[in-house]
């Protein structure tokens, strides 16, 4: 019962933060709302006994991605947006999102999944062993992907000759 209450609180934080991201007019506030939402997701991971994911979520999203987004805002924010923050098609976007949500809810309740009643616990040791034995090659590929992406980012962002 307590976990359910905590889950509802965390879910309210997640959804409220996400609504803040898409609703606020101030871009820095949007980034901070994103941080709130992502930390709510980390709280839900803790409630599901996925502590490693919660740690990774806080470190990568809270520590890296939000900072990078703030850098992007800082470096591109000389001219404020005048007028609306949304483009003219926002009612269509809202309709599309709401209808997708309705369809997904209908699908979820039309096909209830058979699952265990309790969340299964995977401890750090199993996760690490599995990651570095069975999934070692995908792990290396992911590392190379990250390296290539960052080198590519440096090459793209470097101030070269403006074409």
């Amino acid at each position: 019962m307590t976990t359910l209450v905590l889950f509802y609180i965390a879910a309210a934080i997640v959804v409220g933060g996400a609504l803040g991201v898409v609703g606020t007019r101030n871009v820095v506030h949007a980034t901070l709302f994103l941080l709130v939402s992502l930390m709510g997701v980390a709280g839900i991971y803790v409630l599901l006994f996925a502590e490693f994911l919660a740690l990774v979520q806080v470190l990568i999203y809270g520590g890296a991605i939000v900072i990078v987004l703030l850098f992007a805002l800082m470096l591109t924010r000389h001219r404020e947006f005048r007028g609306r923050m949304e483009n003219p098609q926002w009612p269509l976007a809202a309709m599309a999102s709401i209808s997708l949500f309705v369809v997904m809810i209908a699908a979820i309740f039309a096909n209830p999944q058979e699952g265990s009643k309790e969340p299964n616990h995977t401890d750090f040791t199993d996760l690490g062993t599995s990651l570095f034995t069975q999934w070692a090659i995908p792990f290396e590929v992911a590392s190379v992907l990250l390296l290539i992406a960052l080198i590519g980012a440096i090459v793209i962002a470097r101030s070269g000759d403006p074409e």
Binding site: S37, L69, M85, A93, A94, A96, T122, L150, A153
Partner: protein, 102 residues
Amino acid sequence: MIELAHLQVLSAGLFCIGMYGVLARRNAVLILMGIELMLNAVNLNLIGFAVFTDPDRALGQIIAIFVITVAAAEVGLALAIILRLYRQRSSVNVDELNMMKW
């Protein structure tokens, strides 16, 4: 207790909010934030199914770690592209980016 359906509903809601952000915003950085929300919704769903239906293997969490890795790479690249764009067009408004249209 938390059930799988709770997580699925939360994940669907987060995904749709993120999709609205991607479709409706004009600032490229805010669109990127919408994509982050959508990726988190996917991760939430993945972890939900992993902890409720996969009894002893860590597969769901490992795939979620890969998703987070790819999200980090994507944000880094997107920042570089946005910076380049800003330098050339002095705007990050995606409505004004029509150089690939003819």
